[in-house]
Amino acid sequence: MEIAYFLGCIMPNRYPGIEKATRILFEALDIELKDMNGASCCPAPGVFGSFDEETWATIAARNLTLAEDMGADIMTECNGCFGSLFEANHMLKEDEDKRAKINENLSEIGREFKGTTNVKHLAQILRDDIGFEKISSLIEKPLDLNVAVHYGCHFLKPTDEIGIEEQAENPTILDELVELTGAKSIDYKDKMMCCGAGGGVRSRDLDVTASYTKEKLDNMSKAGVDAIIDVCPFCHMQFDQGQTEVNERYGTDFSIPVFHLAQLYGLAMGLSAEDLTLDAQKIDAAPALAKALGENAK
């Protein structure tokens, strides 16, 4: 099995440990992640999608054609990239008029959208194409952690188009994937709420975004979690860097470390905090790691 690996922006350019963990995980699963050479930003739905649909669809379609040329389905581990690429792929497959228009643009760079690839999310591939059993077999160090799972928005919604879960407001996919590592997913108030970063709000009005994030952090803290698990580098950045922004604005002292699902698997497979670039994140992960790996007991 081969997969066209779409990197996006924030993961490779801010949290490369997520990319590293993913590459090691898929090597262990014996699945080849092929680079989509020359891929660009998905592009960001908050700006391109909100400013000009045609530009958004054209650049997204260019990325899609890279995977079409490779004859592979796309995997992304960013909800924003997933939302953008999935939606553009879906739209251009369904709407002939828009497809014609976009292909007119793409013909100028010698490309054509054919509609032969599928866009999948990392978590979806892990559950549907690989299966829980195979993933469990890779876990070397069961993690003693209570975690707050954050689904994010563009991973499951809109349900009627994406269909990964039938009921996006009460999903189980991530909780199940997280618990394969031995970590326990703790329920918390308004678990499905947005982190606050999307739709261009973070770049436009950081106070509003921070207010969302604070509400999430309050609810997570009350549930008594050791870490936050996400499947989106943008949410990841919002909970990591955004947590310091919340602390600055509200005088709080939140310090809940943030792991992308791929990093969580990396930990359970025995990778170090340095390999996962956890040591470069804003929120110190050391206390959670000590607990997770039972180093306190040693």
Binding site: V47, C194, S203
Partner: protein, 344 residues
């Protein structure tokens, strides 16, 4: 909202039996009629029985006198409700006759205009209307009446209401071409909205910003272009899809918001930080480009110094730049090719 839905349906059922029409009520018919019914009902309610802000005397009197007797209140209230239902039916009759022959008929202009004014009018009172109808729970009603009294007292200081004389909307505020943009973009579901408010009820942005998603959808349908595109609140949506997931009419709400933003952007309403993200993509292919710290991190953990994206492929970057020119995205954001920044 639930109560209102039941109401509307019961009216429709009554109409059905009146006309002995057994044929299916197509989405559009139901939608149009419901919105009319809801509309006439809510205005009746406001003026006569329910709304505490205007003439709440009937309910509060009854409640004061017979605090312990829920049954009596219920009876009395039901009676009033019934009379309203009958009024509504009468009012609705001519509309039905008009609409029955053609399923595709648009909402008549003057009715639409009424909707414009009244839907804004209802804005502040929606939740209280709905809760007040609930006579099953005496305590709740009593609390509500108290709340309404307080609300009445605070009314003079209330600068949140949208209904002020200077803001009265007329046909002159409407731009049918604006509405047509949504339909042309394939978002026909904008017409299906019956203003129930489920969207706003679940909206995390509405809890902290002036973003009123239900009202924006209404304004888009009515063609209140200037209102929509000049309002900064339009940009307070994180596109989390909670509204769209919960919409009982399957309205593509997030698509509506994004389309409205497209129109706003093309009319020049764009925030500088957003334009800058566009600049980054034109310059590097990435909205969040690599930096030295990330290069060092990548190298340290054994990844290529830069990812195999446009960062590592000048030809690929040129393709992206060409596409941005082709769609005039560079002009839209005011990109200055000479400086690689913004013109302004």
């Amino acid at each position: 909202m639930k109560i209102r839905g039941v109401f509307s349906m019961s009216i429709i059922n009554r109409l059905k039996s009146l006309f002995k029409e057994e044929k299916d009520f197509e989405e559009k018919d139901v939608q149009e009629e419901i919105s009319k019914d809801v509309n006439s009902e809510s205005s009746d309610f406001d003026d006569t029985v329910v709304s505490g802000t205007k003439t709440s005397v009937p309910i509060s009197d009854v409640l004061k006198k017979e605090k312990s007797s829920t049954a009596t209140i219920e009876l009395k209230f039901k009676k009033e409700v019934r009379s309203i239902e009958e009024e509504s039916v009468e009012e609705t009759l001519p509309i039905i006759e008009e609409d029955e022959p053609s399923n595709n008929e648009e909402i008549p202009k003057e009715a639409e205009e009424d909707l414009a004014e009244e839907s804004l009018d209802v804005e502040e009172n929606t939740s209280s209307d709905e809760e007040d109808v609930n006579t099953d729970d005496e305590v709740e009603s009593t609390e509500k009446v108290d709340e309404d009294k307080k609300e009445k007292e605070n009314k003079e200081r209330d600068n949140m209401t949208l209904l002020t004389d200077k803001e009265l909307l007329t046909d002159a505020n409407r731009d049918p071409e604006f509405t047509a943009e949504f339909i042309d973009a394939g978002i026909e579901t904008v017409k299906h909205c019956f203003q129930c408010g489920t969207c706003g009820g679940g909206c995390p942005s509405g809890r902290r910003t002036p973003y009123k998603v239900r009202q924006i959808v209404r304004k888009c349908l009515l063609g209140l272009k200037e209102d929509v595109i000049t309002d900064d609140a339009l940009w307070m949506c994180t596109t989390c899809y909670t509204c769209q997931e919960r919409c009982p009419r399957s309205v593509k709400i997030v698509e509506i918001i994004k389309k409205a933003r497209n129109v706003a952007a093309h009319a020049g309403y764009m925030a500088k930080p957003h334009k800058m993200t566009g600049v980054f993509v034109i310059n590097t292919g990435h909205g969040v480009p690599i930096n030295d710290a990330a290069k060092a991190l990548r190298t340290k953990i054994g990844l290529s110094e830069v990812p195999a994206t446009t960062h590592a492929d000048a030809g690929a970057l040129e393709e992206v730049q060409k596409l941005c020119k082709l769609t005039a995205f560079d002009e839209l954001i005011g990109y200055d090719e000479a400086t690689g920044g913004l013109k302004e």
